[in-house]
Symmetry: C2
Subunit: 326 residues, 2 copies
């Protein structure tokens, strides 16, 4: 019944759906994959209900250097809470944060990080945490790019997300980051609604506070959506094996294995940060500097080759990194 | 740009979106609620992204008597597995199932049920369980109605789900039943896709089996999506407070409290099974027979009155119970 619009639109030349992608083999692989899974005449056709695409967030959809954005949030929040916690002036790991001494903070390892998450991410309702996160993300700026963190997202990926949805895909985030840290802004920034965000979480409990029914955030880990946890999170939240997965580090290995290990047409993509000038360069794959954040080791590069996953070097593949800001 | 279709369609009289609902106060409450939250001029307007509706499954969307459908599945599966487990002939709780002795089974309580779930729901991959469930649900019949369980769904609720989606709602299942027991058929039967199904689950683990990456189902409870677990499950999977929730028993109390405890327009609905002739009658609210399955106690009826939740007596409100079967 909408045929008339096609006629009115005329033949014309289809606009490039991925203008921020250079005309590389990676772009051709993406376009070719979408073309075959959406072509009913193709042996690789996939019905819409099975067109599931999962995207890692940190380093895949937005910048993760020099520190994860959620850690920047936690440190900012700790500093803003400090006046109510005079004891933090002498207690680690809080003291190192207040002193701006990230080297000492790092020596505290995982336990220190858990203490900081407990202090900054728990003890309030989900509704309150939503507001705290929303307020922070609407003003905090990236230290190098001097723009909002939500403006340090990758323009080529925004185009890819939109292109996939226009082709009947459901797009999901599957991130090691906090599910409730992402949800308040993913719809506005990525077009990905709250139920389509999968991430790590702390436990919540249904409680009445001042007579109001709320979900209270507890200082206790519920789920870690990283490495082998990513396929598990996909099973819990999506309940279908994706046909396309996009990541950028060792944390995404199992998600790509699970995705491309299914039968039929499958595609695995890995963003490779090799552009120090426009963004960052880190590996250590390919001889780039090693990074504890978003590590892309040579073994992952070898896995990509072996499994036919496409490695997207930022430098060669993307002609624009960030969206234009008004 | 679609104005032309409106003109072509002419003024006419809008078709009743809920024909299986009698013209009762319950129906008027539902229509009135949808009208006000979708009316941009209304003080109660809710943007589409916040139009979240959650439905319990057993006893709310389909029949739950004489036993939960998932228990019928577990018992059938146990019987079909028995030839490979000769020891079950003498071991409880398996023996009681094979003997058709549900009274003895009941004396085993929660532990017996866990053993049966472990034997029938774990030890295979998620993909294999999907196939096992799909095969069973496509042939198993309800003992009284002699039709597929998926045809023992409530026609008025199918209409309500569709009507809500047509008005920009996202519809979710939030059930105490097993999430992977429901997902293989909810899209076909209810129009609710797999990611929009929230339920109880057992733990899964990412493994390689014969070189294939799979999710293995473990004999270990992961999450119980019942009572105070329902708001928690909503938080995990949806990440927004619903504005409409529908249930039928004590297991839904906290979901309705959480839903209607938010600010702005909210609606809570409770199906009340008072129609022994066409379906079942159980409470014990209102003096109906007590039931361990889907208990609707007088206290829930009192909660409904106090909170303004609408109680939908099947007998008075629904002029058709099940869909017509071809
Ligand atoms: Ca990453
Ligand atoms: Ca129920």
């Amino acid at each position: 019944t909408l045929g008339i619009f096609t006629v009115l639109a005329g033949p014309g030349i289809a606009a490039d759906p991925l203008p921020a992608w250079n005309d590389s083999s990676a772009k051709q692989a993406v376009l070719g994959f979408v073309a075959k899974v959406t072509n009913e005449g193709s042996a690789d056709f996939v019905p819409e209900s099975d067109r599931i695409a999962t995207f890692d967030n940190d380093g895949t959809l937005w910048v993760e250097q020099p520190i994860y954005t959620q850690l920047a949030f936690a440190l900012d929040r700790l500093r803003s809470m400090a006046p109510q916690h005079p004891e933090w002036k002498t207690q680690q790991p809080y003291k190192s944060v207040l002193d701006g001494d990230l080297e000492t903070l790092k020596t505290g390892g995982k336990h220190a990080l858990e203490q900081i998450i407990a202090a900054t991410h728990a003890g309030m309702t989900s509704d309150d945490f939503d507001k705290i996160t929303s307020d922070w993300i609407s003003t905090a700026q990236h230290p190098r790019f001097k723009r909002l963190y939500t403006e340090c997202v990758y323009q080529p990926q925004l185009e890819l997300l939109k292109y996939l949805r226009e082709n009947g895909f459901k797009t999901f985030i599957v991130s090691g980051g906090g599910i409730e840290f992402m949800r308040p802004w993913t719809e506005r920034v990525y077009g990905i609604s709250s139920p389509q965000v999968v991430g790590s979480s702390i436990a919540t409990e249904f409680q009445f506070v001042d007579g109001q029914p709320v979900l209270m955030r507890l200082p206790k880990v519920n789920f870690v959506d990283d490495k082998a946890g990513k396929p598990v999170g996909i099973g819990q939240h999506i309940g279908k094996r994706p046909i396309l997965a996009v990541g950028n580090s060792t944390g995404d290995l199992e998600m790509l294995q699970y995705t491309t290990g299914g039968s039929g047409a499958r595609l695995g993509l890995l963003v490779y940060h090799n552009d120090a000038e426009r963004e960052y360069a880190y590996g250590p794959a390919g001889g780039l500097p090693d990074s504890k954040i978003g590590t892309f080791p040579q073994s992952l590069m070898d896995d990509a080759t072996e499994n036919g996953w496409i490695v997207i070097g930022m430098k060669e593949n993307w002609n624009q990194i960030f969206p234009s800001v008004p």
